[in-house]
């Protein structure tokens, strides 16, 4: 069965600095990968997804992620963060032979300081 690991529970960073949020997954088959963002007391919003093709995926709000099959990783990056990026970020994986089961990681809280 697939699983998702987000090792960093919280990442503090100063405004305008770059950031990387790490995500590793475990699966015996090919996968589809997603990053969602959750602002306080709100639902989850899709940032970006990897289904196939180019391993570098660009999403909303200036975020991008790179799929690395050999390292089973899908790290999220942004070259310059804003205060408004403060939120919880969730990595999620769906196995290609399962059309619906979306498994989430435990989340990483990005805290952007002025």
């Amino acid at each position: 069965a697939q699983s998702v690991t987000q090792l960093d529970s919280q990442v503090p960073v100063f405004e305008e600095a770059p950031v990387e949020l790490r995500c590793n997954y475990s699966s015996s088959v090919s996968v589809y990968l997603f990053w969602y963002v959750q602002y306080p007391n709100q639902g989850l919003q899709l940032l970006l997804k990897y289904l196939s093709g180019s391993t570098l995926v660009k999403g909303i709000n200036g975020f991008e992620a790179e799929f690395n099959k050999s390292q089973t990783s899908f790290h999220l990056r942004k070259p310059s963060v804003h205060i408004s990026d403060t939120a919880e970020y969730f990595c999620a994986v769906r196995e290609s032979d399962s059309s619906y089961k979306l498994i989430f990681g435990s989340g990483t809280r990005l805290l952007v300081r002025p």
Binding site: V4, S9, Y32, F34, Y36, N41, Q42, G43, L44, Q45, L46, K49, L51, S52, F90, A92, R94, S96, S99, Y100, K101, L102, F104, G105, S106, G107
Partner: protein, 118 residues
């Protein structure tokens, strides 16, 4: 922009009471999901519907939780009786028919219903 509607946003109840949450998915979305998100954790799938049929309820505590989607549109999640450990955010999501590796598998989430059991 179309949204997934959920109510109530907040619910405080005492243990052993019954509680219900309602979800109205985006029009035309055949697949509906209920997730539970405990504070500090990622969402966990409780139940998934394809139209009015349950596709997966393997993680639903069936002794106290029930879910229905009678006409294949809106859905209700019920807890009876509520326990202290049920305190969590209950998220509803919907997607186009969940088949194949296409954008149809993207889930759109509602704002959630936060439950506090005292």
């Amino acid at each position: 922009e179309a949204e997934v509607a959920q109510s109530p946003r907040y619910k405080i109840t005492e243990k052993s009471q019954a509680v219900a949450f309602w979800c109205d998915p985006i029009s035309g979305h055949a697949t509906l999901y209920w997730y539970r998100q405990i504070l500090g954790q990622g969402p966990e799938l409780l139940v998934q519907f394809q139209d009015e049929s349950v596709v997966d309820d393997s993680q639903l505590p069936k002794d106290r939780f029930s879910a229905e989607r009678l006409k294949g549109v809106d859905s209700t999640l019920k807890i009876q009786p509520a326990e202290l450990g049920d305190s969590a955010m209950y998220l509803c999501a919907s997607s186009l028919r969940a088949t194949g590796p296409t954008g149809a598998n993207v889930l759109t989430f509602g704002a959630g219903s936060r439950l506090t059991v005292l």
